[in-house]
């Protein structure tokens, strides 16, 4: 008899369980997403730099710093892509009541994608070997 009763009591209390658990803290988020794509006909690898700095001191409530970057280069020659991103949050809990569990460290999410592709289709010298069509003059 005890088991069915306890099970029924637990079922009745389930809807109220979220209110019994600690409140979800409004954390701050720092998100940085960078995509760099270079497709080039030069046989020299492209220069791709993504310098990201994130800093947050102490607790933080309800703030967000989002930076995104997309660089695309398609060229028969060289490609250079340089990106610098700096994000700083200080006093992120300023003016917020000191409620336990409300403030918490900032979540930092850096996402970086770099693609460097040599494309023979963009390389004039390579294409010349395939589709010259025109007889080369005798040079030298």
């Amino acid at each position: 008899m005890f088991k069915p009763l306890s099970l029924g009591l637990l079922t009745a209390l389930l809807p109220f369980l979220p209110s019994l658990t600690p409140a979800a803290s409004a954390q701050c988020v720092m998100l940085d997403v960078s995509n760099q794509l270079a497709i080039h006909g030069s046989r020299t690898p492209s220069t791709q730099e993504n310098n990201v700095s994130m800093a947050s001191k102490g607790d933080c409530v309800g703030g967000a710093a989002v930076t995104t970057n997309a660089q695309t280069a398609v060229t028969p020659g060289d490609a250079t892509q340089i990106r610098n991103s700096n994000s700083t949050i200080t006093n992120g809990a300023q003016g917020v009541p000191n409620v336990p569990g409300l403030g918490s460290p900032t979540i930092q999410i850096p996402v970086n994608t770099q693609v460097d592709v040599y494309s023979p289709a963009l390389d004039p010298s390579f294409m010349n070997g395939l589709f010259s069509g025109i007889p080369k003059p005798n040079i030298g």
Binding site: A38, G41, C60, V61, G62, G63, A64, A65, V66, T67, T68, N69, A70, Q71, T72, A73, V74, T75, P76, G77, D78, A79, T80, Q81, I82, R83, N84, S85, N86, S87, T88, I89, T90, N91, G92, A93, Q94, G95, V96, P124, S125, M127, N128, F131, S132, G133, I134, P135, K136, P137, I139, G140
Partner: protein, 168 residues
């Protein structure tokens, strides 16, 4: 053939050869894309929101190959080539957000697009450079700064730059 006419002909031939030999070696096969971006966010306070976005697209399409035009005799390198020249695309972006206070919002966006299309131009034998085939440069810059001090401020900045160069 007299000696005078012979000298004249010889001079003409040398001039012609020198003309080819001194063909400007301007940026053959050198098409570069340079993209830079600086993004800075400084927040002092609670509940501030900063969003920065940057999109840079540089496309250079050069038709033609490194085959000297048929019928032209090139004696000394570099030989002039059809349809292959220099194109430079430079794209820059600088975004700064400074927020001091509570509940401020700043949104910055930048979009730069450059398309350079260089076609195979006609070859005006025996002159240089070929018509319609030359170097092109595209420079695009963007600078955005949002400074907010106080409570509940909002700032939205947008920038869009498009450049298209067509050479046939």
């Amino acid at each position: 053939m007299s000696a005078k006419s012979f000298k004249f002909c010889a001079l003409a031939v040398v001039t012609s050869i020198c003309g080819f030999a001194a063909a400007p070696a301007f940026a053959q096969n050198a098409a570069s894309v340079i993209q830079t971006s600086d993004q800075n966010v400084v927040q002092n306070g609670s509940g501030n929101v900063a969003v920065q976005g940057n999109v840079q697209t540089g496309v250079v399409n050069q038709l033609g190959g490194d085959v000297p035009y048929a019928g032209i005799q090139c004696f000394v390198a570099p030989c002039q080539l059809p349809g292959v020249n220099g194109a430079t695309v430079v794209q820059g972006n600088h975004q700064t957000i400074d927020q001091v206070g509570v509940g401020n919002t700043a949104i910055q966006g930048n979009s730069s697009t450059a398309n350079v299309l260089q076609g195979l131009g006609s070859y005006p034998f025996p002159y240089y450079p070929a018509m319609g085939v030359n170097g092109s440069q595209v420079l695009q810059g963007n600078a955005q700064t949002a400074t907010q001090v106080g409570v509940g401020n909002s700032a939205v900045q947008g920038n869009a730059a498009n450049a298209t160069v067509l050479q046939d």
